[in-house]
Assembly symmetry: C2
Homo-oligomer: 180 residues x 2
Amino acid sequence: MAPRKQREIFDATLRLLAAKGFDGLTVEGVAEESGVNKTTIYRWWPSKAALLAAALVEAPALDLDVPDTGSLRGDLEELVTAFGRLLTEPPARDVAVAALGAAIHHAEIDAGRFFADRLARERVIFERAVRRGELPESADPMLIVDLLAGAMWIRGVFRGMELKPGFAAEVVGAVLDGVR
Amino acid sequence: MAPRKQREIFDATLRLLAAKGFDGLTVEGVAEESGVNKTTIYRWWPSKAALLAAALVEAPALDLDVPDTGSLRGDLEELVTAFGRLLTEPPARDVAVAALGAAIHHAEIDAGRFFADRLARERVIFERAVRRGELPESADPMLIVDLLAGAMWIRGVFRGMELKPGFAAEVVGAVLDGVR
């Protein structure tokens, strides 16, 4: 499928999800919104869950740039700030929170694939940090990412609190330096 | 309302939520399951969201003991292990994940109240640690709790990965000592 067409399908999928929730999302609706024939969509993605899983990984709306600021602290602060914006600022928030929220109830959506894909792209941050001597080789990137992303999720989504400008630096500082 | 009756109403609320999701949860269903008159339930909680918000905070099924092991590290490892079990082991998982998942889509459920209530109970862990000289007075308990709970949530729920026995100690070690 042409990349532009695919992008339109994914955008329509996430737009409908944000507007109507997973139960209101239908392949028919996506076909209508994107102007692509329903049977064509089904040929590529066998179900709306499969379609949403692919959209989660590929959609530009949920993309995070991998920063390269010259330091591990700077890279992680930018990454965490961008993730916080994704979770709390409309319109990205409505898409990201709806998609990840739906994944909790529907294992077929496979949020694990989304997080694995993001971690694969972010590994370069940790490889550079090890080369610069900022991080021991034994450090576990997945643990670091889960702590950082998790704190943003609890604070911004579950507590529903504003993510203040200094919060990303606090979170990164706690994980790099420890809280003691 | 008698505490035993209230407990039965909350248990029925969470049981129905886990079985049918938030959309399938009704005050009528809770009345039937708990043997309490519907109008009585409405007198105490004006909506199913209000009922669920109260159940989240009060239900024994979602209770976490506040440990007192003699050290901050020991206390946090026990707390994090218990939270991980809550998120991944049935039947508690089905209730906790359904309730927190529903809160993402329905702000009236107010997961923030659940987390604020838990933090109020857990503050004693940090006060003891400061008194023992294990933690500077300036340390932020909410930040620590959000990092720990967040990592368990991302790993156990979003990634859907098994929380191995040593994982709680790794998470606590990273937050107390830093990853560098």
